[in-house]
Point group: C2
Amino acid sequence: MTSSVSSRRDARRNHERLLREARQLFAERGIDAPLDELAARAGVGAGTVYRHFPNRDALVREIYDSAVAELHDFAPEILGAETGWRSVELYVERLGAWVADSPYLPAVMRRVAELDPTHRPGADFEPLVDGLVARAQAEGALRADVTAVDLGILVDMLGSLGQYGGEYLPFWRRQLTIVLDGLRARPGTTPMPVPGQAFAAFHDMSHAKGPRPAPR
Amino acid sequence: MTSSVSSRRDARRNHERLLREARQLFAERGIDAPLDELAARAGVGAGTVYRHFPNRDALVREIYDSAVAELHDFAPEILGAETGWRSVELYVERLGAWVADSPYLPAVMRRVAELDPTHRPGADFEPLVDGLVARAQAEGALRADVTAVDLGILVDMLGSLGQYGGEYLPFWRRQLTIVLDGLRARPGTTPMPVPGQAFAAFHDMSHAKGPRPAPR
DNA sequence: TATGATTCGGAGGGTCGCCTCCGTTTACCC
DNA sequence: GGGTAAACGGAGGCGACCCTCCGAATCATA
């Protein structure tokens, strides 16, 4: 699991540089962009790419790992908020903005899920998010029929707006506003048409065996 | 522009079959899936594929055209609703469900936009949607700071949930509920953080020259 | 059914991207 | 500086995919 780090400075530098350029390349040209072009962009020979990452999947996995590490950094602020509702706001806003600003993320996530469908990305976070939802609902601020899975999906939806490019990011907060208003407990809230799902059920459903889904 | 239709029944049958299989193939394997495989799935030789569609882009365009035709079918119901608010509901729900249920659509739309960035997909619809928004706002049902562009983006967001596969579709209405509640005019609505965009501005922004965005 | 025009099938040439291999270069350590 | 181990570069083999080509098969028409 732990990647062995070379003791040579040039090797470390190339490794980092390749990761950085790969994120950008994947964002621009898709997760199946030619690795020879990655080599060119990183100013490196093709051999160097394959020494650091035996194949495309290894590269994708490492990008994924670095994203998960970033994800951990959000936890303190989100979970440490004054109120449960503020936690919900921060959860949706911070994570949504992060995904929207990291256009390579959705494809990387999807590919990792295909490589290992049993892997549950943030399983250790799930109880925390459940707790966060319960707290906000206990306050009477978050509508009672919303689940933690709903929140995660809303983050995905907001993150998908990264497709419009960086110039859209300022406007992104408009959709955020609408979604957060829709999450608020209020008189006259529309009842949910179907019951929600638990994390496990949602995971099993969306990772059901089946052909690779459409890139978006 | 009008595609000439062959007088031979086998040719027409193969053309339709190729379109049908292409939609499914693109949904499963992405818009760059091998056309040789399309030929295999359609039970047809490679030559037949290329006689009907000179290249991948022609195929994509024709799928796009058929989608636009479908789109037109929604107009009467959406615009003919009793109230402006009901129009908004139908707009978001019908189109969102359509996109979510057509996993090939987002990639096809994006590719056509790349092929011809000046092309504005539903330019003739834009005034209608603007009118629909104005009507719902005049009723006091739709929040006053929402624009027609916002509505279109929300449809996109809801449509992106097609990525979870067909089994998710029933649950999809939960997110729809949240979004619609967020659109409702109410006391205590959170003010928008930035002003909205007109269709033209949004189009120019999201189609700014630049490298191909990440497939999702 | 016979005829001619149209479409079909699939082998194969050309291109592009993946990945390996090995002579050369670079970094670390003394 | 000198020696050694590690990393680098990029040419090239290989396979996958795109697309063409033409003899064979099929369809419309009479």
